[in-house]
Amino acid sequence: MATYEQLRIATRTTPDRVVLELDGELDMVNSPLLRDACAGSDVAGSATLVLDLRRLSFIDSTGLKAIFSARNESRRRGQQFAVTPGSQQVERLLSVTRLGEHLRTIATPDELLV
């Protein structure tokens, strides 16, 4: 049986944004963790939400859905929303599903959003 890597989410707050750093795998089992992290009060109060996917090694369709739920919720609150590129597998799935085209992607989490 494959060893299922877990997901750790760290929240980093800067004056202009909240960055959620996703480390590990985002799948059916642990995508509720992302939903919970997005529901935090520090996230809601910020002008911008960035999901930092640079340490995300794997994602499945449930994980994609969780990212888009975060995006939709963020838009509803009037926030800006962006992601950083993930692993090869994450990028491949974003491109196969063409969902990457619907996400604003920045190279580093602190890059200016204009």
């Binding site: 369709s61 994609l64 859905k65 888009f68 597998q89 196969v96 599903t97 063409r98 969902l99």
Partner: protein, 568 residues
């Protein structure tokens, strides 16, 4: 007054000390005996007389050595009969150390069971150093030992019950445990689906008696409306203990003289019947029977049996629910797939499907193949996000929406867009689904296929040399974002060429090796020499092996091959 040593050793320091010693010995809770080298008991305190079941010292002093002990069955911890020579007191006379011994003692006349720790110390002649007497101390540890055995039994029973979801097998193992550790016979009866009693497990320590018990059940299985015994416990949900069953009560219970004879030959003395209790209902009963050769069943045994009945009942109920769920999942899964693949003239068609995880989970992958108008067929493969009943609902929606859409417009891209609108309308932004839709026309030398993708991996075209090409334009996954981008692609399939549709779960099994589709492509190299079903089976088993038998996602494969001209 009790029997006392007739030589002066015990009170050589004077009568005052002797009286004091005697007073002390009379008041200790432990049974104490003093035995001489011939085996005759020369002293026993009050507790010892009680232990031996004697009224007075006279009974003891008048008894032949060994006569008193013959009233008891003396066993070691494993249940083997103990040789009296191995008792600590006897060993002292043989010049051996007296190691404390745990003894199980059954009063033959009553079946009462007791546990003792027996210790002995020598009374030695000061001059000759000869052992004159052995002083035995019997510490009654029955309560402690029973509690210990009950816990050990429950632990064993719990392990057995947790070992398998096949409750017929686990209950049989429970019956065996109980028939060796609590009573001589254990039977488990459950209420069947039509409200009748069914014997699901039985065991007896004596194989001959087991045949008798089975015969009794076959010939005289109680009807549910009978006033006593198993039916009574099933109705009331209350445990029952019948101690000291008399011939009269057997006669009252028996239906006829043959029944009475069978019951008599069972030689039952005590019977315990407890409910096989699930949280909300009584599923059946566990019956324990001790015969008049074994130990008596006590209130402590009743408590233990009640615990066993609850534990086993909960396990049986879980097993039933599990089996039921697996059945529902299986039926649902079957309803989401075509029962059989249609024949497409000139083509070979094969499919394989494997849901990940436990057998009671409905997968999110699906496929479908159906005719759409004359000489026209549609192939669909898809992946609904998630698993279980929610995913199954979306799968059904997707499958039927596509079927209906193809009746109005058989263009794959239109079908994909129709499904996207249906998902957005019915489950806005909540469900995501990827599909690959292929339409196939009747072959005229070659076949023209049209293909549209909605977030699904590109299928592979395998040519007659085993080379693979990803076909189709990537399209947006459905149900999540607007607008979607879906392109329809047309391509030719030549004789001997194969189109392989798959879900992400297949290549994903190789992802840990930093490869994605390349192992799949390598497997496809052998396609030209293989029947299509062989190719699919080979891919599935390689993917399974790569995931060490436990893939984390469902895997679906659908293959279409245009028969080579020679074969036709």
């Amino acid at each position: 007054m009790n029997a006392r040593p007739d030589s002066g050793e015990l009170h050589h320091e004077g009568p005052a000390v002797a009286l004091l010693v005697e007073a002390v010995l009379e008041n200790v809770a432990e049974a104490i005996t003093v035995v001489d080298a011939s085996g005759r008991t020369v002293f026993a305190n009050r507790a010892a007389l009680e232990l031996l079941g004697l009224e007075s010292e006279a009974e003891l002093t008048q008894a032949e050595p060994g006569e008193i002990m013959s009233r008891f069955l003396v066993l070691d911890e494993t249940g083997a009969e103990l040789d009296l020579a191995s008792m600590p007191g006897r060993r002292l006379f043989d010049g051996e150390p007296a190691i404390p011994l745990l003894v199980r003692n059954i009063v033959r006349a009553t079946g009462e069971e007791r546990w003792f720790v027996v210790r002995a110390s020598p009374i030695v002649d000061p001059e000759s150093r000869e052992v004159l007497y052995a002083a035995n101390v019997f510490e009654n540890v029955t309560q402690v030992k029973r509690a210990q055995l009950a816990e050990a039994f429950m632990a064993q029973a719990s392990r057995v019950l947790a070992s398998s979801m096949d409750y017929n097998e686990t209950l049989q193992r429970i019956a065996r445990l109980a028939a060796t550790q609590i009573a001589e016979c254990c039977a488990v009866d459950v209420l069947g689906e039509r409200g009748q009693l069914e014997r699901v497990a039985v065991d007896h320590a004596d194989p001959d008696k087991l045949a008798l018990v089975e015969h009794l059940d076959r010939s005289y299985r109680p009807a549910l409306d009978e006033p006593l015994g198993v039916p009574e416990v099933i109705r009331s949900g209350q445990a029952k203990i019948y101690r000291g069953i008399t011939d009269r009560s057997l006669a009252a219970y028996a239906r006829d003289s043959n029944h009475l004879e069978l019951l008599r030959s069972l030689r039952a003395r005590d019977v315990i019947i407890v409910p096989l209790a699930a949280p909300a209902r009584t599923l059946g009963t566990i019956t324990l029977v001790s015969s008049n050769t074994g130990r008596r069943l006590t209130e402590a045994d009743l408590d233990l049996a009640v615990r066993l009945g609850r534990r086993a009942g909960t396990a049986v109920e879980s097993a039933r629910l599990y089996t039921e769920r697996a059945h529902i999942a299986h039926s649902l899964q079957r309803a989401l797939m075509p029962y059989s693949l249609p024949e497409i003239p000139g083509f070979e068609l094969a499919a394989s499907y494997r849901a990940a995880g436990e057998l009671n989970e409905v997968g999110g992958d699906f496929y479908d193949v159906y005719p759409s108008g004359a000489e026209h067929w549609v192939l669909v493969i898809g992946d609904v996000c998630g698993k279980g009943p929610d995913a199954a609902g979306v799968t059904a929606l997707a499958r039927h929406t596509l079927r209906t859409a193809s009746m109005f417009d058989p263009s794959p891209a239109t079908m994909v867009r129709t499904l996207h609108r249906a998902l957005l309308q019915q489950l806005p932004g909540q469900q995501m689904c990827t599909v690959c839709v292929v339409s196939v026309g009747a072959p005229r030398g070659t076949a023209t296929l049209r293909l549209a993708l909605g977030g699904h991996p590109q299928p592979l075209l395998i040519d007659s040399g085993g080379r693979t090409y990803a076909v189709g334009e990537p399209g947006t996954a459905l149900g999540l974002v607007e607008p979607i981008n879906v392109t329809e692609t047309a391509f030719e399939l030549h004789p001997g060429e194969t189109l392989l549709l798959y879900t992400d779960g297949v290549p994903e099994t190789w992802r840990s090796r930093f490869e994605h589709t390349s192992p799949l492509m390598r497997l496809c190299e052998g396609a030209p020499g293989q029947a299509l079903s062989e190719l699919l089976a080979g891919i599935e088993s390689a993917a399974l092996a790569s995931a060490a038998g436990a893939p984390r996602d469902d895997m679906a494969l659908l293959g279409l091959r245009l028969a080579s001209t020679r074969a036709r």
